[in-house]
């Protein structure tokens, strides 16, 4: 009679341990995956913190585009990365040196190249070694972690007697060095723009996409609570004090007077951008650069996606790179080629840096570069960003190996197509600014009072008082963001991939004119390594 109970009890005695072990196993797996996703999120947050530090440092500094200042800002961003890493991963107390063991590389992509922050061997030549003082803080052959030399997004092309290296950037600006089709030396740089760009050298008229680009009224901006007329040349803003007709700049939060005044005239930076792009195109034709095809590229083969499919082949695709028809639009041959070059350069340099990392790491874990997803590449190629890698942390059943890509949307490095906002009425204090894709914006603006403004000019800035310790905060533009297109994007065209096509499609050309003028002005006013800064600034002086 009791045999049912016996059977049941025996069954339970067998089943219970099995069930317990099974449950423990599942829980361990759940915990591992749980940790992995929480680490992914934490890495995203850490990377964002580093980007935020970079933004704060660059927006408040007018010298942030100069190389040594940029290196300083990037190193500061890397430091905030490690501080934030320690906080997020509950590793407070560890110094960045310990944490560096888990971070094989940080990649800071910039306008025309990128920096890799990773360990390397500090090799010194014999002369340097012999001159090192006894108490030097560094020695030869030492392993240090820091920024490696800047790597440009460049590619070499050989065609007949032409042998050039072209450096690409995040927009349509290129730098060319080498020998042209006649074997003559070239050292040139400029923007490439659509075929519709025309310049009449007798009348001086510039037309772009059917729109006449002219100079615009002097730009005005607040410093503290006074509005000044200003001109931005090679990345630096010069403000005009109307009472004394003197000009000043703000460097590191302090006001500096400029000796020779600038010409007090309309702003023609936008006009110059298009005019010089036209002249650049003519020069490219003379050099024979316009005949280059992707197969003329030397030393590059193809770019593959995560699954090993070929996305872009330099060898097989025989596209004319500089086909000027719609060259600045997202899907042009030029842009596809440019992005393939950038991706190739980053990928090849990064995989070398990461595989070398195993030589420096003290752990037993062998690091492998994770494959970056297509959507992450799209973001890397779209704007200045930080790519961080984290590996070697134990997460239960396995070792964590992850990466994160975060864009920097507010920077002085590049003027992207969506960095221009339109102020409805630039002549009054509290006007409204809009995104270009605000529905019906073309009928709300006009060419006399409205103006396109670079997005970081709406950010808060600070300036130190000369007499006390007080810091004054101010907004260069007092305009407020539109609630239906800037704050919440409920009244915008959100599915636009090609802003040029969108603007060309509007029957009212006012918006297009404002936008193209502002885009040209801001791109032309940016700091460019290629220019001779002194000569360039002097060209605008009285």
């Amino acid at each position: 009679m009791m045999k049912y109970q016996y059977l049941a009890v025996i069954f339970v005695i067998i089943m219970l341990p099995i069930s317990l072990v099974f449950s423990a196993y599942i829980n361990a797996q759940v915990d591992t995956l749980d940790l992995q996703i929480s680490y992914d999120t934490k890495l995203d947050n850490t990377t964002y913190d580093a980007i935020k530090a970079f933004q704060l440092n660059t927006v408040n500094s007018s010298t942030s585009d100069i190389v040594n200042s940029k290196i300083k800002d990037i190193e500061a961003a890397a430091n905030s990365f490690f501080t934030s890493l320690a906080n997020n991963f509950k590793m407070e107390g560890y110094n960045s040196e310990t944490l560096q063991e888990f971070v094989p590389a940080l990649v800071f992509t910039l306008y025309d190249g990128f920096y890799i922050y990773s360990p390397f061997e500090n090799t010194l030549d014999d002369e340097t070694k012999s001159k090192l003082p006894a108490n030097a803080t560094y020695t030869g052959g030492e392993e240090v972690t820091g920024l490696k030399p800047y790597i440009y997004y460049s590619c070499r092309y050989v065609k007949g007697s032409m042998d050039v290296t072209i450096t690409y950037s995040l927009d349509n600006y290129i730098t060319i060095q080498g020998y042209d089709q006649n074997g003559k030396g070239i050292n040139d740089a400029g923007y490439v723009l659509d075929d519709s760009l025309l310049y009449n050298s007798t009348t001086g008229e510039v037309r772009y996409r059917g729109i006449t680009i002219t100079s615009e009224l002097q730009l005005r901006e607040y410093v503290g609570d006074t509005e000044y007329a200003y001109v931005k040349i090679n990345g630096v803003k010069y403000y005009r004090n109307a009472n004394t007709n003197t000009w000043f700049t703000i460097t590191n939060g302090k006001i500096n007077q400029v000796a020779t005044p600038f010409r007090n005239e309309d702003n023609d930076m936008g006009y110059r951008y298009y005019k010089e792009a036209y002249e650049f195109k003519e020069r490219l034709k003379n050099y024979g650069i316009t005949n280059l095809r992707s197969s003329d590229a030397v030393g590059v083969q193809e770019v593959q996606d995560v699954d090993g499919n070929i996305i872009y082949s330099f060898v097989d695709s025989d596209n004319k790179i500089f086909d000027f028809n719609k060259i600045e639009e997202p899907d042009s041959n030029f842009n596809n080629h440019r992005m393939a070059v950038i991706r190739y350069v980053i990928e090849s340099n990064l995989s070398i840096a990461l595989s070398n990392y195993n030589n420096y790491g003290t752990g037993t874990y062998e690091f492998r570069m994770p494959k970056l997803a297509e959507e992450d590449w799209a973001r890397i190629l779209d704007n200045v960003c930080l790519v961080s890698f984290l590996q070697g942390l134990s997460i239960g059943g396995k070792i964590y190996n992850g990466y994160s890509v975060i864009n920097n949307n507010k920077n002085e490095e590049v003027v992207t197509e969506n960095a221009i906002y339109i102020v409805e009425n630039a002549r009054i204090k509290n006007s409204t600014y809009h995104r270009v894709t605000h529905k019906g914006l073309e009928n709300m603006v006009n060419t006399t009072t409205s103006r396109g403004v670079f997005n970081i000019d709406f950010e808060r800035k600070s300036i130190g008082s000369t007499t006390s310790e007080t810091t004054w905060y101010f907004y260069p533009h007092w305009d407020l963001g539109c609630y239906t297109c800037y704050v919440a994007q409920t009244n915008t065209e959100n599915s636009i991939n090609n802003i040029y096509e969108y603007l060309d499609g509007l029957s009212n050309k006012t918006l297009a004119k404002l936008y193209y003028t502002a885009l040209g002005r801001e791109r032309y006013s940016m700091y460019k390594v290629f220019r001779n800064p002194e000569e360039h600034v002097n060209a605008f002086k009285e």
Binding site: F11, I406, N494
Partner: protein, 180 residues
């Protein structure tokens, strides 16, 4: 008589021990796995919105489908906190030694879905967010899972309105999602 009663009790006990116990144990594991799937899917969904600044109807549908594949029904609640810097700007403009406070206002599931599913021509099916906004999602099951049913039946500890599978995730949007 006493013997047959004992037999019946013994059979019932044996049935419970041999049948219900493994069933409960298995259904508990199933819920664990569902929980994991839902949590992973939610985190990935939110992190994608956060790092791209865009939420499209396709992403949302894919997310819905992924969690529905666990065999349960879920209640998805989304919230987008839209950052408004204009009030803070006014404070600083009035007194330049002060940094004003930013304000944010929320859009909830129904408003977000309204934007995503609007079918009128010319309206977008993308919710675009900007850097500084916050996005969060919480998911919980609405059906009673097998494990819940069994538990309710045997020890009635779980009330009818409780859930066993739940996931939450949220954070700052780090990218500007608009095409422009």
């Amino acid at each position: 008589m006493g013997d047959s009663l004992m037999t019946i009790i013994a059979i019932v006990l044996a049935a419970i021990l041999m049948f219900v116990f493994p069933l409960m144990s298995m259904s508990d594991r199933t819920d664990d796995i569902s929980q994991l799937t839902v949590k992973t899917a939610t985190t990935e969904f939110v992190d994608k919105v956060r790092t791209t600044g865009r939420l499209s109807i396709d992403d949302y549908a894919a997310f819905e489908q992924e969690i529905a594949a666990t065999g349960n029904t879920y209640d998805i609640e989304m919230e987008a906190k839209i950052l408004d810097e204009n009030p803070g700007k006014k404070t600083t403009q009035a007194s330049s030694t002060r940094i004003g406070e930013n304000v944010s206002y929320s859009m909830y599931t129904s408003q977000i879905l309204d934007i995503l599913s609007s079918n009128n021509e010319g309206t977008s099916k993308v919710l675009a967010l900007k850097e500084g906004d916050m996005f969060s999602t919480s998911v919980r099951n609405t059906n009673t899972t097998l494990s819940q049913q069994l538990k309710n039946f045997f020890y009635t500890v779980a009330g009818n309105d409780t859930y066993t599978i739940a996931a939450e995730h949220g954070g700052y949007v780090t990218a500007n999602g608009s095409g422009n």
